[in-house]
Symmetry: C2
DNA sequence: AACATAATGATTATCATTATCATTAAGAAA
DNA sequence: TTTCTTAATGATAATGATAATCATTATGTT
């Protein structure tokens, strides 16, 4: 498991973390659960560990098609979503995007969520 | 109701549309339903009309905190969300944002979803 | 080895949304 | 206007994702 946490390192925690890291996509809790079926892990544990890791900053999450997707990439980046196959790719943020924060709100920006939508190469 | 649709104009359709237009925020289906309680409209009808209007392009929608929010503004714009009070504001998109589309995907971009997050003036 | 208690897993509960279907009422036709 | 066709409605059940409950298990410490 990645650099530390003050939590107990259970077998299940390892399994969940390794699964998200090994997959290079943005799995839902259920997709992680399915991957780990053979280990006998409980669905509730998968949900608990994933959201715990988000709280700890080890993972990030976002909403997509009515469910929460988990992201091993915690550094700022954008996503591209294909409107046909619904797949998600990591893409770079535009240069200097943070300097383009809206002034209307005159609030300080902590983070942003940018998703491009279109038809991917394969579907086109 | 706004310029055209090839659908029957029911009393309920009018009520739902007027509600979203009159509110200047981004209501959920249930919030629209609560507003229209006294009219006797059914919850299923509110859900149906809202998603129908999105299909027709009269409204837009996005996911927020585990539910679908509806937006009267169908022109491209971004959102600012306060991480404390969870309110949502409309803000302008950065100038020329569409020219900053990622090349990695080499796909044509149809639309984008940009949400800034921070603490609003009131909460600060 | 014994202990304290955080984590687990089976299950139930909750919440948002969709599906079903008998009834109602737009809008066209007579 | 009355009749007619059928899309829309509303009550309710079903679904799907996630959270809560709680007895049991097992990690990390003493
Ligand atoms: Mn990502
Ligand atoms: Mn908006
Ligand atoms: Zn695709
Ligand atoms: Zn606020």
């Amino acid at each position: 498991m990645s650099p530390l946490t003050n939590k107990r390192v259970t077998r299940q925690r390892q399994l969940v973390y390794d699964c998200v890291i090994d997959r290079k996509d943005h799995p839902s809790a259920n997709e992680v659960f399915v991957d780990l079926q053979s280990s006998g892990i409980g669905l509730a544990t998968v949900y608990r560990q994933l959201s715990a890791m988000v709280d700890e900053g080890i993972l990030k999450s976002f909403e997509h098609s009515g469910q929460i997707r988990y992201d091993r990439l915690v550094t700022p980046h954008a996503h591209f979503v294909c409107s046909v196959c619904d797949e998600i790719w990591d893409v770079d943020l535009p240069k200097n995007i943070f300097s383009m924060a809206p002034v209307e709100s005159n609030a300080d920006i902590e983070e942003l969520d940018l998703t491009w939508k279109g038809i991917c190469k394969a579907c086109k």
